[in-house]
Symmetry: C2
Amino acid sequence: MSAAEFDLIARIRARAGVRDDVALGIGDDAALLQPPPGRQLVVATDTLNRGVHFGEGAAAADIGWKSLAVNLSDLAAMGAEPAWCTLSLSLPTQADNAAFVDAFLDGFLDLAAQHRVALVGGDTTRGPLSVCVTVLGLVAPGAALRRDAAQPGDEIWVTGTLGDAAAALALDGIAPYREQAVRRCAGDPATDAARLHERLARPTPRVAAGRSLAGLASAGIDVSDGLLADLGHVCAASQVAARIELALLPVSPALAAAAEGAARWQLQAAGGDDYELCFTAVPERRTAIERALAEAAVPGCRIGRIEAGRGVRAFAPDGTPWRPARTGYEHFAG
Amino acid sequence: MSAAEFDLIARIRARAGVRDDVALGIGDDAALLQPPPGRQLVVATDTLNRGVHFGEGAAAADIGWKSLAVNLSDLAAMGAEPAWCTLSLSLPTQADNAAFVDAFLDGFLDLAAQHRVALVGGDTTRGPLSVCVTVLGLVAPGAALRRDAAQPGDEIWVTGTLGDAAAALALDGIAPYREQAVRRCAGDPATDAARLHERLARPTPRVAAGRSLAGLASAGIDVSDGLLADLGHVCAASQVAARIELALLPVSPALAAAAEGAARWQLQAAGGDDYELCFTAVPERRTAIERALAEAAVPGCRIGRIEAGRGVRAFAPDGTPWRPARTGYEHFAG
């Protein structure tokens, strides 16, 4: 560890949040945490690399926010309460690493504070810009929203709206989204574009919604690769099929102004980076789920149904089957 | 997630170890673990990047071994029992990722099995070759070996031998170690070089020793950056000074054949990548510590003493102070 790395760690340590259950945080070989009795530990990790998950020109604060957000979204998809996280930062050798780290922490710690997540450890090292975050959360035994618990007859729900992040990528001309027809002239183009880009740069992990659904929904996943792809993972794990009504997919005013018809369906059904929750529940719990989402102050709606069989099918408003040009984001397709 | 990424994850999942306390492993948004009651959770994370922590020609199995070893070493330095880990792999887009992952897992899972560590989650993504591992372990409350608990009068101990990995780097001509005078002609040069390189490529995390020292030693750290640098962290955290006798530093036969005098001290006192444990303990516990190390089947010896003051000083056999050309590995110095 050099003086420079030591300084970076000191900068991070000085700003990391505190929790009573952190016996020892940043600054030793490892962190010491005191989990509460009778809870299961929930662990997720995700890496974001420059040029893959964010562009060359991405703001450091947005990278910080998103690197934690995508991990908290995984905890939300399990119905877990976030508690602690670690951060491993690979930084190119350059003079302004301190400025980058400060701005990165602005975004990272802003989101961490919103969810009372304590940053308890990690490392900084030299390398192409890369951020690896591990989050630890807690859930009551048996209450987690697993992918393998969907049952035929379950209704399929989704929180918020779908397709905004993919529309932002289409507006930016990012492959493969640039193939989508996106209008720039309806509504207030500047405001709409800003809203779409905000969804892409600063996704909202649905933590409160996930926690309120734990023990209530059957199965759950977060929409990171695209609705059809992610719902496909649920169907594969649960050995069931899903039927989606495209007319029921929730749409934001900004996306409604930017795209319509099949172009919009493509963004909503196959666009990645939404970080909404997709979950299934028996119809008898419809009212309880509506109440739970209302308490979490998160909108949600039903978009289809789990059936016996295999695979995910989507249907247009006229009842005809519809297939997207692509089903979702592919990390190794490039 | 693409078919290729899905296939990689399936390959990893098929080989991940199992433990009774893993309620849900690889394959969902997050893992579900059941920590035992009354234990503290110990969390460490470390990233290894190609070109920084391993060379272009490093064997995939060695990268896999070392990426887990350096993390287990952090748990060992806390006196913790390893339990679970996550693995985040960034892989360049290339045809032989599957072969790389298979070989990587050979090394990673070999070491994981030795310590009964279950691989419970992670991700694979596109990017320059990078490995981020997070390990989770357990320790009795109050028993962890912290950096901030050394006291004047404590004896300073180290496990195993020091300097082998740095000597391997010197033999390979890696900066800054190539400046060190390393003989290639004493003893059996081929065998000695192989032993030194084995220490560099496949370090042994001192897990059993760390566990046996928990609650017995005062303070502990693993020697990853170099003895003087790492002991410096202990002294800074504990607000004490350390005095090291260079003649007492443990040396392997291979290193003894390869370097002597100040050149050897430089490798032993300032070479990184040893992953031995350095710890302090009150003299009254000398016999108990010798017994604990013997039970762990790990050699250990006393190399100096903690004193009042600040900083780390090293002394030659004739009693004169000695300062290394460098104190330890510097990630951001290049």
